[in-house]
Structure formats: C-alpha cells, structure tokens
C-alpha cells in the first residue's frame, strides 16, 4: 500500500465522518424550522424524540456489530437498564434540581453509567464466546434483564431508597412513593425529553464512536473483526478491546433508553424485549454494518414507515414486513448495489 493511497483512504474516511455530522445537523435544523410551522403534523412532531433515541441505539449497536463484528441480539436490555435507571434518578432529582434540561442530562449520564456497568458484567462471560453462540447469550441476557425488571420493586420515602424482588415488600412510610412497580413499570413520568436533547445525544454518540473508531483502539477493533487470529498473534489484547467497545456501546444505549423513556408518561420492561433488539439490528443491517450514517437513516425511515402506512389499516404491518424483505433483497442485490454506489458523490475521488 503506497503512502498516497493511505492518505486518500484517510481522507475518504474523514469525508464520510464530516458528511455524517453535516447530514445530522442539517436534518436537525430543517426539522426545527419545520416544527415551528404548521406543516409539521402532530404525528411527525411526536416521533422526533423516539427517532433520535433509535438513531442513537443504531449507532450504539453498529459499534458492536459493524465495527467489532459481533452479533448482539439483546441490545434492548441495555436500553431498558438505562431507561429504568434514568427515569428513577430523574424522579429522585425532581425536588432537588428544578431545571428540566439539567435533570435530563444528569439522568442520561446516570443511565449511561448503569448500562455501562451492566455491559461490563455481561461482557465478562459474553466476550469469551464467538459468533452465533455469542449472539444467543446476548439474547439470553436481554431476556434475563427483562425478567428481573419485571420482578423489581423500588420505592423512596423519608428514610431513603428501598427495594425488593419478586413482590413489593418495601413497606414505604407514609408519603413514600413506589417508583418501579414490577410488571407495572414506572408510571407518571414527567416528559422532559426534548428534540434538541435527542439531537445533542446523537451528536455526542457519533463523536464518541468516530473518535473511538479512528483511534488506536478503533484500528484494533477492526483488526479483530477482520482477522481475529492474526490480531491475536501480533499481541493485541482482544478481550480488552472487545470489552471496551461493548461497554461503550452499552453506555450509549443506556443514555438512549433514558431519552426514550422520558418521552412517555409510562415505561414497562416488556417494551425492551427481543423484538426491540431485533428492530435495532434491522437498522444496523439495513443501513450497512459499520456505516453510521446509513444506520441513522435506516432508523429514521423504519420508524416513520409504519406510521405512513396507517392508511392501509389492517394491512399496515403486512406491508411493513413486505417492505422490509424487499429492502433487504434490494440492498443485497449486486446490480442495485453498484447503482447505489454510483450515486455516491465521493466515489470517484476514492478510486483515484
């Protein structure tokens, strides 16, 4: 590989990154302007925050699937840890911090920390496995998290926090509040998530991931993905790097979970089940593994699509399934692929 080609590659990479930022910022500005006018429907306005949350989830999972090359089928589990930790901390901070954006930011940070801890604990056994076996273990952890949260009770009163498992034995004092109520989840959440907050979270997630990818660790990730044995033979500490990516991804997912949960008045553990994990995986695969911009766009398209299909009433989800299959077939078709590639404005320069 000549030096010149290396530099070009780097340039192409850099262009891709700037393009991603640019698209996100322009999309944000356009949406902001639109939503101040009458043209934006309530339906679209209502979807802005969840779309941001799903985009962040897609970026987070793409770090594991696209960059690290490991399949995770339980990513919604981290989202739920973040959602529950974030909402709980926001409720606890309600009296102390009255400024909603600050409270949201703190809640998201706490959510990220909790999810990172979960990611670390789960990473220890998971990262010893490979391929489909790793995938099924992540699925198993996703189900375990759901099952535990469905049996978890947490309340607060003047004596502090109380929690219990299986049934509510917190025995709160008068004036106490049972925050997490097992299968009933959390009710009466203050909806403090906003579109700008979602945008900022997405930008931060992108910055973290891009910086990670283009650092020494990032090259290590890709070396591991492309040839694990070769990477190991040159002395890369595979487990360390894998763990780093996994924990980072979990933390981002946790923050996204907090953002998502605080956009609704209620949250239950069942929301973050296998189907949600799969949905996020679909964003990543459709958008292209390792392609952040692609997965962000896929997240937006696939969240809006079922809403736009509402006029077909009963046939809506059927059409959604068909569109999903057709999109997968189309994006993996060699001819369509080369056609799409020809639309890429940066292609020629890359080849030069």
């Amino acid at each position: 590989m000549t030096m010149k080609r290396l530099i070009n590659l780097k340039r192409a990479e850099a262009r891709k990154i700037y393009l991603t930022y640019a698209v996100v910022i322009v999309a944000y500005v356009v949406c902001q302007i639109m939503s101040s006018t009458k043209f934006f429907s309530s339906s679209m306005r209502g979807m802005l925050v969840p779309i941001c949350a799903y985009m962040v989830m897609a970026v987070s999972l793409n770090l594991v699937v696209g960059i690290l090359g490991e399949l995770s089928l339980g990513h919604a589990g981290f989202m739920s840890v973040g959602a529950f930790a974030g909402v709980t901390s926001a409720i606890l901070m309600q009296g102390v911090i009255t400024n909603a954006p600050v409270r949201l930011a703190l809640a998201m940070i706490i959510a990220a920390v909790f999810a990172a801890v979960a990611g670390f604990l789960i990473g220890i056994p998971v990262l010893r496995l490979k391929g489909d076996y790793l995938a099924i273990v992540t699925l198993a952890f996703g189900e375990i998290i759901k099952s535990i949260l469905n049996n978890f009770y947490l309340g607060v009163d003047s004596q502090g926090l109380h929690f219990s498992m299986l049934s509510d034995t917190t025995r709160l004092l008068k004036g106490g509040r049972l925050i997490i109520r097992g299968p009933m989840g959390i009710s009466g959440i203050q909806k403090i998530s906003t579109f700008p907050a979602g945008f900022i979270l997405l930008m931060i997630a992108l910055m973290i991931v891009f910086n990670l990818v283009n650092s020494r660790s990032g090259r290590a990730f890709m070396a591991i993905r492309d040839d694990r044995i070769a990477a190991e033979s040159i002395g890369l500490d595979i487990t360390k790097y894998k763990m780093m990516a996994f924990v980072m991804s979990a933390a981002i997912a946790g923050a996204a979970g907090a953002l998502f949960a605080m956009n609704y008045s209620t949250v239950v553990a069942n929301k973050f089940d296998f189907n949600t994990s799969i949905l996020i995986l679909v964003f990543v695969v459709l958008g292209g593994q390792g392609n952040m911009l692609g997965s962000i766009i896929a997240a937006a398209v696939l969240t809006i699509l079922p809403e736009k299909l509402r006029e077909f009433s009963e046939y809506r989800m059927l059409l959604y399934a068909i569109v999903l299959i057709v999109m997968m077939l189309a994006t993996n078709n060699a001819e369509i692929r080369s056609f799409l590639a020809s639309l890429n404005p940066f292609r020629r320069k890359e080849e030069a």
């Binding site: 339906s43 969840p50 097992g182 299968p183 209620t266 949250v267 009433s313 009963e314 809506r316």
Partner: protein, 373 residues
Amino acid sequence: MKKILTCAVLILAMSASAFGAAFKLGGTAPLTGGAAIYGMSARNGAQIAVDEINAMGGDIQFELRYEDDTHDAEKAVNAYNALKDWGMQISLSSVTSKPAEATAAENFSDRIFALTPSASSAAVTEGKDNVFQMCFVDPNQGTASAQYIASKGLAKKVAVIWKNDDVYSKGVRDTFVEKAPEVGLEIVSETTFADGNDTDFSVQLTEAKEKGAELVFLPMYYQPASLILAQAQAMGYAPKWFGIDGMDGILTMEGFDKSLAEGVMLLTPFNADAKDEKTAKFVAEYQKRHGEVPNQFAADGYDCVYAFCQALTLAKATPDMDAETLCAKMVEQFTTMTFNGVTGENVKWSANGEVSKDPKGMVIQNGAYVGLD
C-alpha cells in the same frame, strides 16, 4: 376477498359520513400482534354503535376512526398523534392499559376528552380530570372478587395464578391479595406465568392442589385460562374456579370444550346471553357482522359510543365545537349523568374518572352464563 370488500364498503361509508357534520371520534387499539383480539373486539363494538346512531339520523352523528397501537405505549402515542392530525374531537383513549396510560397523558395535556372502553389500570385516570373509564378499575375487581368469594362462603383456602408481566393481571392480584386476609380468606399458593412460558401450567396447578386450595382465582384473560382449565382436568384437579372480566369470551373460543368451563365463576359486567332487548340487539348485530359472539371488550366499546351520544345530546354539543370546548362539556356531563348500557344499568362516574356499576356474578352452567344472585 370478502374481507377486502367489507373493508372497501367501510371506507366508502366512512368517507360518505365525512360530508355531513359529524363528531370525530378516535381511539387506539392493538389491531395487530398478540393483543389484537381485544383491540378488534372493542373497535367492532364501537363501530356497530356508531352505525346504529348514524342510522337513526338524529342530531348526533359520529365518524369513527381506530388506529393500531400494537399494545405498545410508544406506538399508541404515535397512533394518538395520527388521530389528532385527522381532527379527532373526542377520544376513545386506548383499549389496553399501558398504551392508555401513555395516551391519557396526551389527552390531559391536549384537553381532548377520553373515555376508555377497557383500559382498567388505576394509573390511566389518576390525576387526569378528563379521562374516564367504561370498565371496572383493576383494584376494584380484586377487592370485589375477594369480598364475593368470602360473602358467599365459596372457599377458605385460595390459590392465585397471575400473569407476571401484565399490568391488568398484576393490578387485580395486588388488591385481591391485600383484601383476602381481611375477609377471612387464606391464600395458600401464589404462582405466576409470563409471555413465553404461558403454555405449561402443571407446576402452578400442582402447587395449588398440594396446598389444598379449594378455589383458584384466575385474574387473567381467557386464553391462558382455557389452557389452565384443560390441564387441571387432565391432572384430575377440580377446585372451584373464579375469574374476572377478562375470562369473558372463553365460551366463544372456536373449538373450546365447554364442559371444561363448567362451574367456572366470574365477575363480569357483560353477559352476552342476557335477555334484555339492548343486549339481544347488540349480540345479534355483532354475530351478523363478525360471525362471533361479542365479548366484554366489544360491549365496552359499544357502550362508550352510546355514553358519548347521551352526553353530547345532554350538553347540546355540535360538531363544529373544538376539542377543548367539548372536553369541558363532557367532563361536566360525565360526572353528573347516569347511563344505561349493555355492560350495566345506572352507571355513574366519579370526578376522578372511575366508573361505578355493579359487577354481575356469573357461573357457567351447561355451557352458558347463569347469574349467581
């Protein structure tokens, strides 16, 4: 093909009524996915009521629209927003509890009046002056069941099997378990199931049997209940069974062996076999359209529309009023009026949106409901 045709006819009918002045009535319901059965029923019931009212040609005309929420809070808010874009003036909230909790918060902040047919969790109406329920609230069902069992002396030792990832089941179970010791019932066994392990109930039933439960309380929907009854019979366990309103519908499952449900007791607001004119007319129409006997979800949906019709008439509301004006009028009517429907007579609402009507104790005899009192 028949379905597509009926759909086309429905769409035509809907667009036809759009020309006249009609109140835009919207609701969200699971129309796809595992909970579709409840959403479909409620929607079908509401549609029948709307068609009947429109056919009478009175001052009150409705245009009904249901959007799919797949039994998910996020999708329910999306569906609610789609209805808002359509111009919804009054809302049928959501059919299931968690989605209704999410949309009720939107109803409250948007000042759109909501009456949910069947979302029975207490959190749906809590702290919202403009969200009302047509069905019993879960905690009341638990308390009422415990009292009923104790006062009729049905059993002393009771087992409870409930669904551990379900708001409805959990809500009823909580108050039942709380009330039971007060009325002298002993809960000897309490076991659960959840999505994904809701097929085999041998452990739950064996435990109830071993602990000597004379009555098993089943706060759940009828589909798992039907499995429990079949498996209990297979293992030769025959306690008394006691269900709640979700049990209604068990007799109309296609292919269900009705002898399994012999002697099952349930508290339900609706009885499809009731002889009164209103119920008979509704059941006949439902059967004509959908080939099935309506369950309580359908009945609740049907009643909701008639309750709206009555309240709008009393308030002298007109379709050109905006949602907020209608909301204030509806709150006023619903807290003062008395309603008679297929799910209850002399139905009243309290200011916090809870309904008060008498649950009917039913027992299944020879494959049909018979009043217990």
